[in-house]
Amino acid sequence: MTKKKATINSDHIKVIFVEGDADEIIIDKLISYYRSNGFKKQIKIINTHGFPDEKKMRQGLTKIIMCSKNPVEFEAVVCEYDTDIFAKGIQQEPNWKKVEKNLKQNNNVTRFCRIQAKTSIEDWMLDDLEGLLKALDLPLNTKPKGQYGQDKVKALFRRKNIMYDRHKGREKIKQYLDKLDIAKIREARKKELKEFEGVLGISIN
């Protein structure tokens, strides 16, 4: 009996870059929801603590390669971000085609896609306003004050004397955001998640 020749196994990795703690919590919940619906693949979430531009994504991918014992192939790289950053005039929207091309050419990325939270991940949270109000133990007829989703969520947390910190508030806000109905949010954001779910091969009716 001849022995099979040993082959070098590559790690096939899927990565989602998110821009802050709140985004990380919601995307993590979303992945758990997919798992409860039969999705089995591993996905790594990397919080870039700020807009995940090409530079930050490259750095994140390089760290994974450096830490891995096997050669790495990035089966899918996903960039999640709030679209409001471009309206504020702090950062220009990258040329995404160029970003995709660069990542595929230089970083061994097979597929690239984006999740655009319009205008911010807090607008997604408000898709389950009832759940958020219940989590915060606020009356269900409470109308969130503010112009944008972020203002509204901040105002709701403020009513419970909690400083809502989307960038670095993981420990404080997780217990509340964990109570949101992610199926409801996913249903409301189907359009924004279509490409992402396609890349992951997720199909839920």
Binding site: H49, I90, Q91, Q92, K154, N161, K168, G169
Partner: protein, 430 residues
């Protein structure tokens, strides 16, 4: 609350012209020795001059630490102008100028007393169809001041005044003046600094203070008694403040300002003062088996508590403008985005102007929030912001270098010495 929207200052130290439009949070970004501190000092000086008594004003007009010795500025008057809104309907422009005192020995021609030269107050109804400023006070030649005495009058009534007096202060005694409220509002504009540069031990060191005739020995300096009072009087804001601090420093579980007055010494009725109350700030950290004093925590923790407490206090006190030097001092770059966002939340109607050396702060700011220190061949303070028409182009250039606008401007600032043609191309004129 009335709001401060713009400040212009001339003739102070190495400031020829310094003009700044204030957004909720505005920054002065520059390398060392570009005049950030001078700009902050000039703003404080300008507002203190309005508030002070004549005697102090006279002293201020001769303050050698403020008089310019720059070859191009020396001899020029101090000029101050503020623009703001008194309420939702009324905008104002108030300004004054004075000649600095000169006392060069052996040259009598050079000797002169400091004296106020010009002063004006203009207001407009911003909701009218054609908002146009009306001059209510006008001082054009030292002691000659004209003002409007009645709504139907013209700005032609004389107001006798001394050369160290401001008409604004004098008119505040005219209770029946139809714009008395405006005068009082402008007089009471509050500008306050937060010290982020001192050794944080000093922020918590015991200090003897007198309040309402009572002496208090304060542990935690003024922080502990203020937090104690805040907890008693506005628990919601206190809890929000604690929530903000514990977001930034997750190891902290609780923060308790306490009064510790256990001496219980007996004193005679004719004793000159009561026994001091002593305050402290007690903190519980997750991994410790007991509470401890806040001042035993890290430098950064102490500075964060000081900064955020003072921001809260400023907002509650109705301060219009907060001045902070080197906001990022002792604070980890990863916390700066959260810190800016938290400060913004606490500020309310109060505005913040801060200086910085940090690209890690600059990267979170938009064009109107960024005033960049530019190199000057004459040694002048020169802070300018991007031309509105150039913002999208600079954003594009920044994106090509994988930078935010603030990061790019910070980088550019360090190269402008060699690329001076970019100054006139990208930046506003002073």
């Amino acid at each position: 609350m009335n709001a401060l929207n713009k400040i212009t200052i001339k003739g102070f130290r190495n400031i020829d012209v310094f003009s700044i439009d204030l957004t909720n949070i505005t920054s002065l970004l520059a390398p060392n020795n570009y005049g950030k501190s001078n700009a902050m000092a000039a703003i404080k000086f300008g507002f203190e001059f309005i508030k002070n008594q004549s005697k102090t004003r006279l002293r201020m007009m001769g303050d050698q630490s403020c008089i310019s010795i720059n070859k191009g500025i020396a001899g020029k008057p101090f000029v101050f102008e503020e623009e703001g809104s008194i309420d939702n309907n009324t905008d104002y422009i108030y300004g004054y100028s004075f000649d600095w005192k000169r006392n060069r020995k052996g040259d009598k021609e050079e000797e002169s007393e400091g004296q106020i030269v010009t002063e004006y107050l203009k207001v407009r109804n911003k909701n009218s169809e054609k908002p146009k400023y009306t001059t209510l006070i006008n001082r054009t030649a030292g002691n000659k001041v004209k003002y409007i005495p009645s709504p139907t009058g013209r700005c032609d009534k004389d107001l006798p005044i001394e050369s160290d007096e401001l008409a604004l202060n004098k008119l505040s005694n005219f209770d029946d003046l139809f714009y008395h409220d405006y005068v009082e509002t402008i007089k009471s504009v509050r500008v306050r600094g937060i010290d982020t540069l001192s050794d944080p031990e000093d922020l918590f060191a015991p200090r003897l203070m007198v309040k309402n005739g009572k002496q208090s020995l304060m542990l935690g300096a003024d922080l502990a008694p203020y937090l104690f009072e805040l907890k008693q009087k506005d628990r919601n804001v206190f809890e929000l403040l604690v929530s903000a601090i514990t977001n930034l420093i997750p190891a902290i579980e609780t923060i308790d300002p306490v009064v510790i007055n256990k001496l219980n010494l007996k004193i005679d009725e004719d004793a000159p003062f009561e026994l001091p109350d002593q305050y402290d700030i007690i903190v519980k950290e997750r991994y410790n088996n007991q509470q401890t004093r806040f001042q035993y925590l890290s430098t950064g923790s102490m500075k964060l508590l000081n900064l955020l407490t003072k921001v809260v206090k400023a907002q509650k006190d109705g301060v219009q403008l907060l001045l902070v030097e080197e906001l990022e001092n002792s604070i980890h770059p990863r916390l700066l985005q959260s810190l800016l966002s938290i400060i913004d939340d606490f500020l309310g109607d109060t505005k913040l102007l801060f200086t910085s050396h940090s690209p890690n702060l600059a990267k979170y700011l938009s064009a109107p929030q960024l005033y960049i220190g530019l190199p000057s061949e004459k040694g002048y303070v020169d802070f300018r912001t991007l031309k509105a028409t150039k913002v999208s182009r600079v954003l594009k250039i920044a994106a090509a270098g994988e930078m935010s606008l603030g990061e790019y401007l910070f980088d550019l600032m360090l190269d402008l010495e060699c690329e001076r043609d970019l100054i006139s191309e990208f930046f506003t004129k002073n």
